[in-house]
């Protein structure tokens, strides 16, 4: 087992709908997706954001594309037009999620690194 940050094994992107922030997580492999579906819980996520989320956390798996949709209710200080947060539309909430520490099997870390390398090789100049 190895201690990693979520950023090592997944990508993410977030946005807003009113006072709801959604954080989409893209696993860097199928096995990582399976691990995350089992291990990411609403309780863990709420705790991770340390009081920023006043409402419920909902998790929606998307096995067809190895992604997980996380919905954070009442998490944007009243929504884009009212909030006092600088990041009015919650765009940076996704990378805050990536700070989460987790213990994963070494093989998953290898798979993530392989994906990172493939992306660089396939699309990088």
């Amino acid at each position: 087992m190895k201690k990693v940050l979520l950023r090592d094994i997944a990508f993410s992107r977030s946005g807003d709908k009113g006072d709801v922030c959604n954080v989409g997580i893209m696993a860097k492999s199928k096995n990582i997706y399976n691990f995350l579906v089992k291990n990411l819980t609403p309780g863990k996520i709420k705790e991770h954001y340390k009081g920023m989320i006043k409402g419920n956390v909902e998790i929606y798996p998307m096995p067809n594309i190895d992604c997980i949709e996380v919905v954070l209710r009442r998490s944007l200080g009243g929504g884009a037009t009212c909030t006092l947060r600088f990041d009015q539309t919650g765009k940076s909430m996704c990378t805050a999620m990536l700070r989460m520490e987790m213990e994963v099997d070494e093989s998953l870390v290898k798979e993530a690194k392989k994906t990172d390398k493939e992306i660089q090789k396939k699309y990088g100049s």
Binding site: F11, S12, R13, G15, D16, K17, G18, D19, V20, N22, G24, I25, M26, H48, Y49, K50, G51, M52, E58, Y60, P61, M62, P63, N64, I65, C67, E69, V71, R73, R74, G77, G78, G79, A80, T81, C82, L84, R85, F86, D87, K91, S92, T95, A96, R99, I119, Q120, K122, Y123, G124, S125
Partner: protein
Amino acid sequence: MKSVKIGSGSAFWGDIFEPALEMAQRSDVQYIGFDHLAELTMALLNRMKSKNPEAGYIPDIIPWMKTLLPVTMPKGIKMITDAGGANPIQGALEVKKIAKSLNLDGMKIGVVYGDDILPDLDRLRKDGWKFKNLDTGEEDLDSIRKDIIAANAYIGADLITKELNNGADVVITGRASDNALYVGPLMHEFGWDFSDKYVDKVGAAVTVGHIIECAACVTGGMSNMWKVSKRPWEIGFPIAEVYENGDAVITKTPGSGGIVNEWTVKEHLIYEVMDPSNYMMPDGIADFTSLKLKEEGPDRVRVTGMRGKKRPDTLKVCIGYRNGFIGEGSAFFPWPDALEKAKWADKWVRERFKRLGIKFEDFRIDYIGVNMLHGEAAPIEDKDYNEVGIRIVGRTKTYDEADAVRREATHLWTMGPVGVSFGVPLTVRPVVALWPSLVPRDAVKVESQLMEV
């Protein structure tokens, strides 16, 4: 198999212009959709219209149409835009004027309106409809009724399709759903309707609309692929090649910068979505959990297996209401002891506000460079920072109190610790809060007309 090419030319009011022009010039798209409206925009446009009855549309439509029409008309590219905002008919009249000056005689402009339900709000409430707040669960509008300044339903593709069937070269709408700007042309081209027979096809159109409607956001903008996006300063906007069987290929303007790959499509499929198996739009409910993605070449991703469910009986409605004022200010502190200086300033302004007796509805202090973005989720490092800023922001009932927040922040500039630096002061901004709700579809009387140049 018949296919249709549709691109996205704008994702918000203020978006960059060249990608739309380059798409029109270099690609063989048949349609380009333009979204200019954010949740707050309608309230802003309403205010413009209340000051001048000939305003209230997105003013960008004038320079954009002047440049685009000479390219799109000869090529037969049709444009669908929600730039009508709070005054679609006036917006259309302006486009007509431009077309006339460009000698585009015979050009047809479809106008779709009726999304403004503010005049009907009280009647609908009297009839027993409750505008429940979808965010907070509050049942009753009474607490905000006197402050309401806008109420717009997100209308669907019905009449966009109708005006395209009537031969419109340009369709201008009020607050149509961004999504409908893309669903409309696809339904028009393929002859899809809202019957059970086409639910998956319309679901595919809704999904394709979602993937491309935020323009740069699927071609390397706001992307996890930012390091490998090619010439991002020449970013191309997305184009969907949609097939009659409901499959699609997502690509972008030939020769443009940016990137389209399975990751950029994925990151948009998960963007601003709640339950991905019920992505609810006025024209249908798309299920994003059945589709498959396959990269079939550079900047080409095939999407298959898209599904849908019947459109809902209600439309989303955004009610905007006045909710006080926000005052904000900042100051910046250099090494050494930058964070300590920021904490000193934190205490200083709080004591000042106490002394002045300001009542806050909401108040917040951020340390810029430390926790302004990730808030409580950001660990504060124990180090001597090069520089730290302080951001002071408060929401108040009155303008004067919000102005005091701004003013006290500027006083830090002369009374703060040594080295304090400052920039341009901000102005107080009035707050328009949003009350998201639903309205029965049949209560919204959407209308359209065709103007000929």
